[in-house]
Structure formats: C-alpha cells, structure tokens
Symmetry: C2
Subunit: 889 residues, 2 copies
C-alpha cells in the first residue's frame, strides 16, 4: 500500500497529488513550481498518517530520518539550520488533508526555538520582544497540541488565560504594550507551568519538538471536532492528513511585517474583487483566531502600493492557474511578501453561483465546468430567507456580514446549551452569541439559526464555517460587549439576556432586538442563468416535486419543478375541519354513515385536486392514494387508556370514551409500518380509494371543462405482489371510467405503483405489466431492506454511524449497495416486461445529490423532492448527466 | 387451450389422464380397460368446467350434443335409452376433480326418471317401492344441487325433513317400512313442493335433467365447502372438476341388492385386509352419508361366499394394477357385483407408513416409491398423543375408531360454535359432538380437538375427513343419543351438556367423561423403518431442530434431529426465577448493578448450555444470541399507563411504579420488529452477548472437560451489513478465546449469522467473508420482504388468501417468487466469496414440505424445525432428494 517515498520536497510535487500530499501540500508544491514566493519546505504524506494509525498510533520507524534529509535541503536553501545556536532555522508544522478542514486540526509555529536559539535570534534580529513573543507562542502551541491530552491545564486556553492575567497585572490590555522583558518573563512562567504539569522540561531538543509536532498533527486527525466536521461534510475517515513542514517567515517582527488571509474574489457575494484582511505585526493565527479585528486588504495599498500590486498580481496568477477563486494566506516579513498557502476558497451559495457564472463569462471555464463545480447543497443558501421587504425593525448594532440570510431566535451564550436547545436537540430557534467562536463551538453553531460574535473578521474560522454551512452570521460586532450570560450594547447600555428574542440580518451585518418577519429570497439573475445551464445539461432527466397543496405546488414550479412526483392525499385528511369527518368515516358503524362521511370528504378532495391541477397547468401529477394506517387519524391509545383509567378510578363512567378506547384498541398494531396500510387498506376498505379516485377525476374534469389540462398519475402504494395492484387498479379504472362518462370529458389519467416493499422490487417484471409507472419510495424501501424502523432507529443509527458500522445514514443518502441493488433489479425487471414504463423516485432521497446521481445512473426518468430542494436536484441532475457522482468527495 | 374432444367414453381413456378426466374419470376408464365390472359411461372433461367459468358460468355451446353422442354409445351397450318410456336408461352424474375432494361437490343419481319412465320401470322391475324411492331421491338431489341456490326450501335437508315428518305421520321410523304407495305419495308431495317453491314443474325432459345435473356439478366446484377444502389441502382453484355420467346400477332394488364402500387395506392401521362396509338394499349415498350404520364387509361372505370372493379378487387386481391401497365404491344389483369407483384411498399417517413399508416388502414398489408416496404432513398423526399408559378413566360408551389419537376438551354441539371457540377461534379445546356430521361441518371439525358422532360408519365422509386431517374421532357411537345441546348415554341415562369436559380415544373408539392424561405416541416399527429409508435417500441434506431446552433437544433427537439449528437464548430469559434478574439487568442504573445481574444470568445460561451440549453428544448446536427488544422482558406499557393513571386519580403516588413507567416509555418503540433488537442490541449493549458467549463457551468447556464434545455455532441475528457482523464477531471471538484460555480447553466453536433482513441477502457476498454459516430466518425475511408484520397481518392476510391475491399464507409455505428469490441471491453470493459456507434454514418453514423441497433445490445444507416436525422434514427432505416438489399436488 504505502508508497516508498514518505517525505516530499515542495519542488518535487504538484497540484495533482492531493491524495498523497493533501490539498495544502499539493498547492504549496504547485505554487513553488509556478514561481510564487513560497518559503521552502516539505510534506509528510497522508499515507504516513494512515501508517501511524495502522501501527497502533506509533510513529513509523525511519520517518524522522527521511524528514531530516528533506530538512537538509530546506536548510541549504535558507542558509540556516534547525537548532543551530548561531543561525537557527525556524519551522511551521501544519496539517493538510485532501479536503480542506479549516481550523479542525493542529498547527505548530516557531518550531526550533529553545533556550539557545532564542538568544541567537535575539542577536540576529535585534528584536527581543518579537523573539520571546515567538517563543511564548511555540510553548503554548506545542504544549496544547502535543501534551494537553495527557496532562491537565496545558491547553491554549490555559496559556491565553495566563497571558491575560499577566497583562492585567501589568495594567495593559493590548499585546503590543507588553515589553520584551515582560515577554521573556512570560516565557519563563510558561516553562515553569509546563514543568509543573508534566513533571518534565519543555523539550529543548528541536528534533523532539519536530517529532512531537508531526505526531500531534496526526493525532489531531481524529480529534472530536475534526470527526464531527467530517461527518457533516461526508469526508471519509480513512484518508488521513499530510503534514507540511515549512521555513517560518514572520509577520510579527515589527511594523514592516504583517500577515493576512484573502480571497481572490468576495466569498460572500462572489464580487470579482480581492477580498481579505491583514494585521500588522502579527502571526497568521492572530487573524484566523479572530482575537484582534484585522484591517481590510485594501488598506495594504495605503501602506505600500507596490506590495499591494504584487499581491493582486499573485492573486491573478493563482486564479488563472487554478481557474477558480482561491483562499490565500500570506505574510509580509520586512516588506517582503510570502504566499504561505492557497486553496480553493470556501464560499456561500450565492457566491459560488456568481463566481461560476462569471468565470464562464470571463472565458476561463465552460458551462459544464461551472455546473460541475458547485456543490448542489450550497444552493440552499440562495434560497435563504431574508427580512421581509418593508418590515420595520430596531437595529441595535452592526457587525460584519459574515454569513448571509436572516435569522430569529432566543439568544443563547453557550455552544453546548445551543446544541441542547437547537436543531437536533429540542428544536427551539436559537441564536448563538459568543465573544468569539472557536472550532470547539462547531456543534452549537450547527444547531443555531444564526451566530453573533463580538470579535473575529470575515475570514475567522467561525465565519468560514458559518458560511460553509449556510448559517446567517454577524461577526466582529465590536459595538457589543458580549459576556457569559448577556451582552450589552456599548452605546446605549441596553442589555440582552439569555432567552431574549433577537434577530440577525447576516446579509447586512445587522443585530436586531426581538423577532422580525422573514420571507423567501428573490432568485437572483445569476441563479436563474446558472440553473438554466443545469437544465440544458440534464436534458430529459426530470425534476419534480413532492407537494400536497396548490401553494406548495406553485412554489415548486417557481423553483423549477416539472410536475408533482408525490402528492400525499392523506395529508389533506389531517387538516382542521376535515379530521372529525375522517374520524366519523373510520368509526362509522354502518355503510350509510361511512358513505355520508366519505361524501363530505369527496367535496374537500375534489377542490384540493382541482386547485393543484390548475396550478400545474398541464404538468403531470403523481397522486398517491391513502397510505397510512387509519388509526393515525384517531386519538392516541396511550392517552385514551390513561383517560379511561382515571375516569374509572374516580367512579365516573364515559361510555363514549370507553367505546372509542375499544375501537382504537381494536385498530392498534404492533408494527404499524408493516400493518394495515397502503394497498392493503384499499383492498380491505375499497370505499376510501374509490372516493379518492372519484375526487381526482372530478377535479381533473372541472379543469378540462374550463379549457385546461390535467394529467393525474394515480399511484397505489405498498404493492408487493402484482395481484394487489391488479385487484385495485381494475376497480379504480372502473370508477375513473364512470366519472369520465358522467362528466362527459376524457382525462389523461394513468395508474402506477410505488416500489417501496422489497418484494415489489424483486417481482417488478410481474408488476410492470399492470403499471404505467413506478415511483421508488426509498424511505420505506430503506426501512424494509435494512429492517430499520425510521421512528425507532435513532437509538442505533447514531452509534452505527459514529462507530463506522454504516458509512452514513441510509435515510439521508441512498444505500447504493443494498437498497440501490433492489432498485437496479426493479428497473431491469420492470423494463423487461414494460419497456416504456416511466420510472421516478419520490422518497426524500430525491433531493440529495449523491442519490440523484445514482438515480440517473440506473436509468430513472426523474427525481422528485420537496420544493426547496428542487434547485439542488436540478443541479445534481445536471452533474449526474456530466458523469459526476457528487461534488468532489 | 381447450382440447377438441370435450367428452370421453370410459373405454377411450386411461389412468394417466387425471388432469383432463379427473381422478374418478381416469380410474373408471382404467378399470373398464382392465376388465373390471364397471357400468358403462363417459366423462365431461375438467377443461369444460374451466370453459364454463371463463364463459361467465354459462354452459359451452355444443356440449350437450357431444354428450348425447357419447350417451348413444352407452345406450347401445346397455340396450336401453335415456327417457325411453318403454325401456329407460337411468344415469348417475358425479363430480371428479384431479384430486379427491370427498363429499365436497355434488352428485345426482337415478337421472332419467319422470312421470313416464317411472311407470315403465315399475313394470320392468315389478318393484314399485324401489322405483318411487329412486324417483324421490332424484327429485331431492336435483332440486338440491340445481335449484336450491336460487329458490328457498329446496335443499336436501328440507326434503329429508319432509320424509321424516311423513314417516312420523305413518308411525314408522325405518325407511324400509314405508310402503310403495306411501313412497309414491311422497314423490307427489315432493313434486308439489318443488312447484310451489320454483313456480314451475320439476323437469320432465330427461335432457334438461342431464344438463341441469352437469351444470350443478360445475357450480359445486366453487361452493363454500369445496373452497375451504381446497384452501386447507392447497389444491389450486383453477383445475376444475370433470363430470362422470354413468349407467345406474341399483343397490336398492331388493334384498338381493346392496351397496358398499371398501378399502383394499385398513385405512386406519394399514393392516393388509379388505376393510369396508355395506348396506343391503340401499344406494351408495346411504353408506356415505352415515344415516344408517352399515355392516362390515366381512359379513358379505356370510351372505354369499362367491360374491365376497369376487370382490376380494377385484381388490387384488386393483392393488396389483395401481400398486397402492384403493378406496372402492361398489354396488350389488340382483347378486351381480359392479365396481363404481376406485381411487387411491385416504389413510391415516400410521396406515400410510405401514402400507408403504408393506408394499415394499411385498415387492410391489421400491423404497423410493414408498418414500415419494407418503404426504409428509401425515406423519404428524404417527406422533399423535395417546392416553397415558396406566391412566384410569371412565369409558361411558364405545363407537367406531374413526380417527386415531386421544383428545380432550369441552363438548360443543354446533359446528359454527366449535369454529368460534376452537383452533383459529378463541383457542379453546373443544370436542365437536354431532348426531351425524355433514361436509358443512368441516370448519367446526377442523377447529376441534376431536369429533364424536352418533351415526355414520368408518367410511362416512366425516370419518374420511377426520382421518385425513388427523382429528381423533369416534363415529357411529349408537350407545349415545346426541341432541342439539347435550347427549345422553342410553344405558345409564347420564347426560353430558355443552361445556362439560369429555375425552375421546380415537384409536379404540372410546368416549370418556372428564379429562384424561395424554402422552406421546410410541414410534412404531414401520415408522422407524420408513424414516430410515428417508434418511438413506436424503443423504447429506440434513435435518436439525429448533430447541431451547435439554428436554426439547432430547425429544428432537429421538425424532431424528441431527443437531440444533436454532436455540433461542432469550427463551431462557423468560422463565420464572430469571425474569426478575433480566429486568434488573435492563433497568440497572449503573454498570455495577448491570454486571451483577448479568453475572447471575451467566450461571443460569451456562447450565442451560451445558445441559443441551450433553444431550447433543457432539452434534452441532446453532445458538442464536439475544434477539428480541429488551422491552419484551418488562411489563406492558399500556398496563403501566392505566395503573399509574388510576393511582394518580386516587391521589396515591407510587414513585417506583412511575419510574418504571418512565423507563418503559423510554424503551417503547413504534415498530419493535424493526427496532433495537438483534445485532443492534449487541452493538449498543455488548455486555449481554458477551455474557451469553461466555456462558456458551463455559458450558461447552464443562462438557469437554468431562470427556464429551460440544460444537457451538454462535449465531448473530438480524445482520444487514457486514460491518455489524464484523464488529460483534471480533469482540465475541475475544471473549471466546479468553474463556478457552481460562478453562484451558479448546472448543470447536464458530460464528455465523442469520440471513433474515433483505439487505443481508442482497449483500451476502460481503457478509459471507465474516461468517462460517448462514441460517435463513425466513419468518423475519418474509415479514420484511413483504412488509407484513406477522403480529398484525391477520386482518389483511386472510382476505388476501380468500380473494386469491396471494396463493397462500407466505408464513406457512415460503413465497418462492419473492422471499425465495432473495434466498437464491444470498446462496449464490454467499458461495461466491465463501464456497464452504454452511447454509441452513431455521424459520418455521423448515418443517413445511414444499419449503423443504425449495431449500433442497437452492442448495441449502440442512433445514431446522420444531421437534415434532422433524420426521416430516426428514421425509420431505428425502422426497426433495428424489426430485419431488411436494406430495403430488
């Protein structure tokens, strides 16, 4: 498995080697080779990381020798040597997996400083404050990444806390106010603290430092936040991280130094203009960590036009070379520019669309490349709600528009609490409010509607993550003073406490008191152009929607749906005034009572269908006949048991209630998922579906008579045996024909079935003879193929995914090996007896990009999904047509 | 489809033509051709019956013309003509499907009598009483079969009732005491009654009679009792019945006439001796209907040795020709013997085995033919309980031993009530007690433990059916007077009422008051020989048992099991003293408490397994780790809700109960079948299966140390993804190795899995890499492949089978098209990656003959079933090895 060569010099690699060198390493190699000013260095491959884990988390033998050989090359290039007391080389050690995982893994800077080299550095730079500041940082970082897991109180936070206390004792607040001597004292305090906690000295041997740092990067591959991030981003756990070791350059050697992060275009809006921030006299982590609020990149022009122009030129070179927007880290050391890193930049959905469209217009890429490049899931952000036009609201502060979209919820000041209360927890709407956010806050951010921070810029990790996941975010809002349980508006003294309602306008950076009305996003020009390209490319592979009302149908059509793939007729039964009628129908004790209730329902359903057909304007509508067990429409058994027991204990008697309990008990099922539902209901109680078929045909007839068109595709659910379909279809065809003759019009109707029971897929050849179409109900098919009750599977599915027993949740993305195999069997068998059968999918998978690609691959005619996922499906369908499985993971 | 020739003369057919001519018709043709004295006739084919139904239940055009042509041939042979006023031919019209359905369809005798022919018959025979008796019967039968469905009060029962009243008015009880004049008067009364009910005359046109009778036979194919019988016997509804039209001969022309039914060997015991009954001066229906109790066939010898010898010779001819025991209907008309019908005789299980073995010993058939011939399901009867040896009981009456075996239950005097209360109803043990039984009582008989009748012989339909279905039956018990709600012992006046406990010893014909202790049958000599032949023939295709205790295991081994195919470890958890420990384990609030409970269970389970291994003496035991959801071991949620609600309403508080409710609520599942069970439990709560593995290995080690052998095959249930098996297997292998090392012995253990989730079958290639064996759990596989919850499916499965949506209950016999397809996929895929994998089945299908044949066909190594089905499986396996799908249907 392992390639012989475990350590690669930058000059020996290139950008195609992402698997082996990681994204960062491959790009450093590429940039080195296209002549950009990159400090020299080398990369330990991702395979070594896997070797490390396969080896029981032990450093592979001989690795350090190979590293030392590469180091000699770097030392030669820089004319310095690591640990040389006279002319020491300092190194940065950074993680770098194939896919970017910003801030999730560990970094060590200033490696090579020790008691001896510190002294020579002071001599060489004449800047003792800078040197001790660097040493302080090294001690803090190495202790944090390599020792804090095994010893207490060695985390970065602990050291930052010591520094803060120290600054307090000095009576200063800004780091720059701390003198060289004080910084030296702080280093000594750090070293004493380190020894106290570990019982040993901070490593003075620079090669021990190097080995510690490399191992720490490997270990950070499996830290909790990296693990969560990979789950969320569907990155495999097996690919490992590379380690990049590079000569240090310093942005914190004085006021002719600086460091920054920039994008070649605006990552929020996509605007074609360099966008970024830098800090004078600082190291990169100061920008990234968001502790100091940096200056916009344009200010560099004021400081030095030539430096700024050199930087802009470098950006252009990179864009031309990579043909995409790049995210760049740079450092200026004594007025010389160094590019430390470049990678494809994370961007919001709107930015991704605009950049793709602009790049096509600028002649840099083809439409197909543009379509292939955008992660379909990002499009959700283009549909993010905005504050309703004309709504009046009270903006109490403005910060940076770090993540677009509007959000409203209660203020929560702790990430864990936000996770508990928010999405995935109790489902409340929360806004996470923090002085600054760190990667540890990821879980809380994902659970929040929005994020608000006092510190941190547009490129802080928090902002990057927020944008990546489409969380409306206002960052660096220094007008607020954010504490542990409340925040204060500095100007007015207004206090907002945990639990108070606030809102954010992430698009404009506004912080608002109370709730605001939010509404749909307007679909921007580039969005429309982009999706029209997607439609061109996907060709005949269709996208429909799951919708049960005229309103949802209209929305979906606006978003590009070409028809309805699933209209759940029973959803219409749950609505307010209808439910009592449905209950009467179910509990009727004779046919006359049942018929009376059904006649009432007929009136409702006919209007429902008419409304839907009108909105569809001739587009097809696959309408599923009643599916759930009838007891779902009745009061719960548990509640009735308690009520009746209580009444009995009190000596009261309520015969009606007792009768209802008796009825509900009689209909109770042990496993309702596999009980009296779907086509089984239609066979045992045919009256309901006869009424529904009548309602569909009468609704369609009204539209046809009014000069319109209606194309109902009547779908019979849960068919496992051809005879079920045959039996019901024959009866319902009779009803349909009767309505046509009563109404004196012809309706373009057809009958088909869901394929959602394994036996349905296995005998699709027989079933296809009786069906005009199949629609895969992959929710139920997944339930039955795995034997996973979706209502109950949380308790084991979560551990399964965490323990890697399953690669992911099969209810999210189709299990292609198992469930997909059944689908392929059904497609092949279905076409064998009915070559013209129409094939679609209406499970929730129909809007999930990888599942869409699979559906395209196995030859379905269309996918169907909820209205808001229609644009995602359109793009995913186009990517599938381009032979692209998923974005690029 | 239809063969050109729709009507076949007996002399043109032969016994190979059962499909076309039905069993009876083919045999009449065969007998005609081997020279037995068969009255001439012809057969209307089964295809015409299907044509009749395809034609919307209308008689096919031209059929009667074909029938008349054949009739001419019969008329020529007999020198008489149908309807000829001077010399009339009379006909019988009988049903006859491919498979015998005794008494289920209709018959018309004496066809051809009318006002004119009656007179000429009186002249010709000089026996007016006989002629009017025959006419009376014709009117009754034709009215019953051809008119009673459309008009009221024309059933056989109505006419019988008129006859009984008439006899009362005459002051006589015996039919023979009714004079010729009275009989003539009765005919007139019948004709008046017929006209009153129908508004038209009884058909005088003999061809109308013939057409009515043929159509009535066709219609009787779909009467309710025939339908129920076919369900039970798994006879297809599509094969139709033939109609046999034959010249009448008369057993009721005088005292030199008679009629009888006989078997060439004893159908209860298999003894090689002609067995049967006859009635002097009677028609066949008198014997069959059980109204008069007939004389044993041996008495014929007393009447006429030459007739008896002729009869015995005919029996021998038939046996030599058909090579099997035959069931014969015969008539003696004026001292001349006629054979009216022969067919393979229904027999009890013990008789079937003995006859098969005897026929081999007599050189008539081979062992293979003997094995192929016996319906495996019949073997159940060889295992029927008998009254415990030495038990004292009070025999109040003796009747005919019509169905072997002992039965005990409450007396029920109505067939519908028996069906309500008995098997398939409320599950009570009932004994159906009737003056006589008719085919209408079938449902009640099937629901009863045993049947007791006052009238009817060993060959009455009731007795035939009872024996066929293995229902212990005492028939013709004339010592009792059986009424509508009670019976009286004539000798003592003792009265037994509905609901009183009685018992039957069907083997000896004893009627017993109260309950008696019953015990296992001793396995007779022929039974052992027969099954040893089955074992020779089935070769390596194995038969194991499903057993959870040493006792069941010992029983199964006695019945021929070669090991355990399924030991359900959780069954051991349900037993008395263990359940509280299991509950403590489940509800433990900390690891220490849980461990303590598990340690207690370990002691129990170790002993369980040791006991089983000892009994097995080195045979393999497939032991399934815990499968059901844990809440099955706790009190029911509904009960707790009611209890707690009651306590609350009364102002009492029981925190322990409330806590328990809370816990049970927390574990409640919407669809427990697809919830936290099987391997999922093992992954989330590994302690239980670690304990179980330890118990298995420690139990095995104890046996090995004592010089024995133990071969545990540890089976992990509900695997759908290879990683589940891998994860659990790795952990449990570690436990197993630890026990081996602690105990210092080596145990021949292996790990495998159930294939019971569709995904498990679909990905069997991956799973087989981690498994030494697969065992198909076809109960769950059927549930998930169909999406049928077995707990809830009654409500739709019954209508499904009745409405022919499914050909049968897939939980009874494997659905080969769907579930079987998954099994074939799993076998092929499993062998592709693990050619030596051992394959078995442990669902309840493992003891069902057709399913056993399927398992053999797809290449499984063994089947496993409950102990009492082991002999059935051994025979079915042998038949499968002979290439025989099922008995002969």
């Amino acid at each position: 498995m392992a390639t012989q060569k475990r350590v690669w010099l930058f000059r020996d690699g290139d950008k195609s080697m992402r698997d082996l060198l990681g994204g960062k390493g491959a790009n450093l190699a590429e940039m080195t080779n296209i002549g950009l000013p990159v400090p020299p260095g080398f990369t330990v491959t991702t395979e070594v990381c896997n070797e490390y884990y396969a080896n029981g988390a032990k450093m592979p033998e001989g690795l350090m020798e190979e590293a030392k050989a590469a180091l000699a090359d770097v030392e030669a290039a820089q004319g310095k040597k690591l640990g040389d007391p006279n002319n020491p080389l300092l190194l940065s050690v950074r993680s770098g997996a194939k896919f970017s995982m910003p801030g999730m893994m560990d970094t060590v800077l200033n490696l090579g400083l020790n008691a001896e080299t510190v002294e020579s550095m002071v001599k060489a730079t004449g800047n003792p404050r800078f040197v001790y500041d660097s040493y302080r940082r090294l001690i803090m970082m190495l202790a944090d990444v390599a020792y804090s897991a095994d010893y207490d109180h060695l985390s970065k936070h602990d050291f930052e806390h010591m520094f803060r206390d120290y600054k307090s004792s000095l009576g200063v607040t800004d780091d720059l106010e701390v003198s060289a001597d004080s910084m030296k004292q702080l280093c000594d305090d750090y070293l004493v603290h380190f020894k106290k906690q570990t019982g040993k000295d901070f490593p003075q041997d620079v090669f021990v430092q190097l080995q510690d740092a490399i191992e720490a990067v490997f270990r950070s591959w499996n830290n909790e936040r990296a693990f969560i991030y990979r789950r969320k981003e569907k990155i495999s756990d097996d690919i490992g991280t590379a380690v990049n070791i590079q000569a240090m350059v310093f942005g914190n050697m004085g006021d002719d130094c600086g460091t920054g992060v920039a994008f070649t275009r605006n990552p929020s809006t996509g605007e074609n203009k360099v966008f970024g921030e830098y800090l004078i006299n600082a190291q990169g982590e100061d920008v990234v960590a968001g502790v100091r609020t940096p200056q916009p990149i344009e200010e560099l022009n004021t400081y030095s036009a030539s430096l700024f122009n050199e930087f802009v030129a470098a950006c252009a070179t990179l864009e031309d070379h990579y043909k995409d927007m790049q995210d760049i880290e740079f450092t200026i050391e004594k007025d010389k520019l160094y590019i430390l890193q470049c990678r494809s930049g994370k961007r919001t959905g709107p930015a991704a669309v605009k950049i793709a469209v602009d790049n096509v217009n600028e002649g840099r890429i083809t439409k197909e490349e543009a379509i292939a490049r955008v992660d379909p899931n990002l499009l959700t952000q283009c549909l993010l709600p905005v504050i309703s036009a004309g709504a009046k609201y009270d903006t109490i502060a403005k910060g940076l528009p770090a993540g677009p979209g509007a959000a409203t919820g209660i203020a929560v000041f702790d990430a864990n609490r936000a996770a508990e209360l928010g999405k995935g927890g109790k489902g409340e709407k929360v806004i996470l409010v923090r002085a600054d956010t760190s990667p540890d806050d990821l879980k809380g951010m994902l659970a929040a509607q929005g994020v608000l921070t006092e510190r941190g810029g547009m490129t802080s990790h928090a902002a990057l993550v927020a944008r990546g996941f489409g969380i409306p975010t206002v960052a660096g809002c220094s007008e607020l003073s954010i504490g542990a349980n409340s925040f204060t508006v500095r100007a007015t003294g207004q206090v907002i406490k945990e639990g108070d309602n606030i809102s954010l306008n992430g698009t404009l950076g506004e912080v608002i008191v109370g709730e605001v009305p939010v509404e749909e996003a307007a679909l921007s020009g580039e969005f429309g152009i982009f999706l029209s390209w997607a439609d061109e490319i996907r060709g005949k592979f269709g996208v429909r929607t799951n919708a049960d009302t005229p309103k949802d149908t209209a929305l979906a059509i606006k978003l590009g749906a070409e028809g309805i793939g699933l209209c759940r007729t029973e959803h219409m039964f749950f609505e307010g005034e209808r439910r009592p009628v449905v209950q009467r129908m179910i509990l009727a004790e004779n046919d006359a009572d049942r018929k009376a209730a059904l006649d009432e329902l007929l009136v409702f359903q006919r209007e429902d269908f008419r409304g839907i057909f009108e909105v569809l304007e001739g587009r097809p509508a696959t309408i599923r006949l009643i599916d759930p067990p009838l007891h779902e429409f009745l009061p719960s058994l548990d509640g009735l048991i308690a009520e009746v027991a209580t009444l009995k204990a009190l000596g009261k008697s309520d015969p009606a209630k007792e009768h209802l309990l008796h009825e509900v008990e009689g209909m109770h099922e042990i496993n309702p998922m596999m009980g009296m539902r779907g086509v089984r209901l239609s066979i045992v109680f045919p009256q309901i579906v006869e009424m529904q078929t009548r309602a569909i045909l009468e609704g369609a007839a009204l539209v046809v008579k009014a000069g319109g068109k209606a194309v109902p595709e009547i779908m019979i659910p849960l068919v496992g045996h051809v005879n079920e379909l045959k039996f019901v279809r024959e009866r319902l065809e009779a009803t349909a024909k009767a309505v046509e003759s009563e109404q004196g019009v012809s309706v373009d109707y057809s009958f088909g079935t869901m394929i959602e029971v394994p036996r349905g897929a296995l005998t699709a050849d027989e079933i296809a003879k009786e069906a005009s179409f199949f629609s895969f109900g992959t929710n139920d098919l997944t339930q039955m193929t795995f034997g996973f009750s979706r209502d109950d599977s949380d308790k084991f599915l979560k551990p399964y995914v965490e323990q890697k027993i399953l690669p992911g949740d099969p209810f999210e993305s189709i299990d292609q090996t198992g469930v997909g195999q059944l689908m392929e069997i059904a497609v092949a068998k279905g076409k064998s007896t009915n070559p013209n059968i129409k094939l679609g999918i209406c499970g929730e998978h129909g809007g999930e990009p990888r599942s869409v690609a699979f559906c395209h691959k196995i030859g379905l005619n269309y996918v169907s999904c909820s209205p808001y996922r229609v644009p995602i499906a359109r793009l995913a369908a186009a990517q599938a047509a381009l032979g692209k499985g998923v974005s690029d993971k």
